[in-house]
Symmetry: C2
């Protein structure tokens, strides 16, 4: 692993120096740093999200906010600091987070010790117990975009595993369990939309096994991505919490029957980890490849400037930028850099489309359009540029999604013996197999192989007559296993 | 129409129970809580920002982000946690924040102690020292929207003074001091736009005296609002940091002269405190009055429903909601609440325009439009509703701003003797007077009266032949003094 200590004024070495397939971990670090998505922070395990990375997060927010608002969710903000006593109310939840919780030094011994939020179920539900009185207050659907602190001691990695990250967390309360479960699945579908329709990252929606459930949940749903190095990435989760928090936090409502009932609750979250998936799934040996819908600057125009034609080419390029304004087109007029150097730089930063314009092109009223994902060059009449950019961006999204989907589908291997399991894992596959679902069995698998269950895909049907590939006991569901981030 | 309203005799138990002019502090708390802008958190001095309050913050973000983007600023995210050693690099800055800084309990004694950010100059500029190499990297303008922790021990107050609040902090580095100073004033102007053009809160832009400067700044600019209870509210600040941070954090660039130079830096911030100003400046004895541009839901439609005409009135009201969609029109169809109860509720929550529709109105193809700021009722032909709502919202913004501006201007009292100063302060005025500018003199004034200098208004000219009203030494500038939040 690359050193986490930032080098002071180290020379700026351009270009990615390892191939993605040779050392994906090092390749990933280089892409994230050199494409200027993020940087290491001075504090161990923390990250700085740079503007080029943060704009991806803003795109996710702009895509997601209207979807949840249409689902009756309202944004709010709850405190960063959570009283210690809240963690002790739901035992399973606390045990799930205990090791990762960071605490604030007390200034006054009379005040209760407080933690930095690792997630906000407890502090929100304490409040819900005061806000919810009657069935007319339900459903209550609250979301917040905020920072989260989990004191990771495992090896940290930019965007994927850091002590602080940004996320959204939705928290809902319902009168009935049906509504709760239905919404838990609904929000998972919205996550799938974010992954596939915005980020062009295909995912498998499914249910977690007992061993992989969220601490305190009756059921956890997940969207799982599969990375080119053969590791799964959990990209979003949605939990049916049942009445597990309602009881200790006393979240009750008066039903239309006049009686008091506990609410049913759900919570759901996606994080800046999504940005890591974009890098891994789409990047290549030249660097980042941004899915067009998420790119703030979808086009960069590089004019090829010679002294004799400088003025007219510059003017035409400015005109192009104006015409392509809705795509956030940038115009790279920097002196001191050659066109070739600029091409490399914008390729490394993943800008979806590059437009080149030189004097010969201009004389013929055309330009060169280059797609970042395929590298394909195309001469385009200036008159048709706007329409071509629009359709190429659209085609690019679908091509990137399809390519990644093909990889995902090719990666799934059905196994029926333990030997096949081990072989498939060596080949970095996503294993599908009949599984008993028992935490003890899963623990043994993890200890032997480091592989974990990823999910029981939504479309699976219960097995009636099959044995667990590992323990040979009755298998419940076909379940996906692999190594994971 | 009053005559056709169903009988409403239920007292509004959830209304505001004190008058604004009788006890503004208690009135403020009630409005914030009962209009559901915010709630107290379980931890002392912290707040929960409820959806109705958070949407004001989102409006501020949506208004402000395009303004700063047009000024070359890019959004990013820096870590919450700041190494202790960073605070010791700039002595004056650390002394300014020392008492308010909260620290994280150490899990590992080998790791450096870290603080929760009270502001991010130090952690950002450490990074700037690695990102900035050449004059081509300048100006560098970074902003972040984030949470801030300051362990306030004074009496806390929702939105105005809490241990955690939300803000944006812009941090810029420049090659020259001229650019730095120019931008510090530019961002202050943007703050004035937010206050006046979005929130309808008039402010006085000015410079802080030495005693009131930001810790570590060469110069602090401020926009000061003046509240109905005769206290000023600092609503946004912009600092010229000179090279005070560049030197200890070693933020240098190679100029086009080939030499290394320290950058000049500026920082600027506005916070959720702005929401407190909206409440205090515009609210009345019925509750909140939202300035129309900041209100997410600018209109509420209350249909007056009787059994005989229920269906047609409901249908017409739905049609109105559709027609007023761009104003975020809500339709209040709740059963079990009388129209009068609903009127009071939406008045308390500050919705700018209420539209009433009863069967007699419908028969005449008209409705009643009620403006929240004036309470004025107006019959409006249904055909003209959209246009009327649009123009009333616009008129309302200007009327609210003008009313508040009139109050502000009426509040300024020029004094030329210490006795007049004391009298004006008793009358809760904003005092303008010749002042020497000396921190010692200002400290004495504060100890005697609790009043502090608010600013030297931008339009003031230096005094050539005047004596300080307090100490009689040479006065430098006419300066504003008052009590303050």
């Amino acid at each position: 692993m690359a050193s986490e200590k930032p080098k002071d004024k180290a020379p700026l070495t351009h270009g990615i120096t390892v191939k993605k397939q040779d050392d994906m971990s090092e390749w990933y670090n280089q892409v994230v740093l050199k494409a200027e998505l993020a940087d290491y922070a001075p504090t161990h395990g923390m990250m700085i999200i740079r503007p080029h990375g943060y704009s991806i997060w803003e795109s996710i927010q702009h895509f997601f906010n209207p979807l949840i608002e249409a689902s009756g969710v309202r944004n709010a903000y709850f405190p960063l600091l959570i009283p210690e006593s809240f963690f002790h109310k739901e035992k399973e939840h606390f045990e799930g987070f205990e090791a990762e919780v960071a605490w604030v030094e007390r200034k006054d011994e009379k005040e209760e010790r407080v933690a930095l939020r690792p997630t906000s179920e407890t502090i929100m539900y304490d409040t819900f117990s005061r806000w919810i009185r009657s069935h007319r207050d339900l459903p209550m659907k609250i979301n917040q975009w905020c920072n989260i602190i989990r004191w990771e001691i495992k090896q940290t990695k930019l965007f994927l595993r850091t002590r602080e990250f940004l996320w959204q967390e939705g928290h809902c309360a319902y009168a009935s369990h049906e509504e709760c479960l239905q919404d838990a699945k609904h929000f998972l579908q919205l996550y799938q939309k974010v992954a596939e329709e915005l980020l062009a990252v295909p995912v498998i929606p499914g249910r977690k096994t007992i061993a992989e459930r969220f601490a305190g949940a009756d059921e956890t749903f997940t969207i799982e991505g599969f990375m080119p190095d053969g590791k799964a990435l959990q990209m979003g989760t949605s939990h049916d919490l049942g009445t597990n928090f309602a009881k200790p936090f006393n979240v009750k409502f008066q039903g239309d029957d006049g009686q008091e009932h506990f609410v049913h609750q759900g919570s759901w979250g996606i994080s800046t980890r999504m940005i890591g998936a974009v890098v891994m799934v789409h990047g290549d040996d030249k660097g980042l490849v941004l899915p067009p819908r998420v790119a703030k600057n979808k086009v960069v125009i590089v004019p090829i400037l010679f002294d004799a034609s400088r003025e007219e080419v510059s003017k035409a390029a400015q005109h192009m930028q104006e015409e392509l304004k809705e795509f956030g087109a940038m115009l790279d007029t920097r002196e001191n850099y050659s066109p070739g150097w600029k091409f490399n730089e914008w390729e490394m930063k993943g800008i979806p489309i590059r437009v080149e314009l030189g004097p010969k092109d201009l004389a013929q009223q055309q330009c060169v359009l280059v797609r970042r994902d395929t590298g394909q060059k195309k001469f385009v009449p200036l008159q048709k540029l706007h329409a071509e950019v629009k359709s190429e961006l659209d085609a690019m999204h679908h091509a990137m999604l399809e390519k990644a989907r093909h990889f995902l589908q090719q990666s799934i291997h059905d196994v029926s013996t333990w030997k096949e399991f081990e072989q498939a894992l060596d080949q970095r596959k996503l294993i599908r197999m009949p599984f008993c679902g028992r935490p003890e069995c899963e623990k043994e698998i993890k200890e032997k192989t480091t592989a974990t269950s990823r999910c029981i895909p939504m479309e699976e049907k219960p097995l009636s007559n099959a044995a667990c590939v590992h323990c040979n006991q009755k298998a419940e569901w076909r379940t996906l296993f692999s190594k994971a981030y």
